[in-house]
Symmetry: C2
Amino acid sequence: MARVSVKTDKDSSLVRLGAAIRARRQLLSMSQEALADHAGIDRSHMGKVERGERNITLLNIMRIAIALDCSASELLSQAGL
Amino acid sequence: MARVSVKTDKDSSLVRLGAAIRARRQLLSMSQEALADHAGIDRSHMGKVERGERNITLLNIMRIAIALDCSASELLSQAGL
């Protein structure tokens, strides 16, 4: 079988998930700092996640989803992933 | 706000996602080695992912979902995440 190619540039799934996280956070009128603190994620790392500059792990997706009062699959679905 | 606590032991979301990956792979009658090769993921790493022993990244979830002909959100939804 052919290898699956996944782009890691600015058009990638990372950017789309970051945008979905930001949209959900803004819907809840939550600051990026509050989300980072609530999820237990470093504030500067959270900024990079929202900009799609970090290859986020499942456990951090879970932490963010819980802090945003939604499921991880809902976040990914919102991102079109 | 209180910090979100995410368990990383054997009862965690990692185990549930690993089980969902395995179930989907077996539904397609695909070996773990074939999935690893198709997704471009090291075979020993894939075994650890299916057992929930690795904190998988979004890009690897994407690679596995593509190789399993489903979306990442469907995989997480199957895992109850």
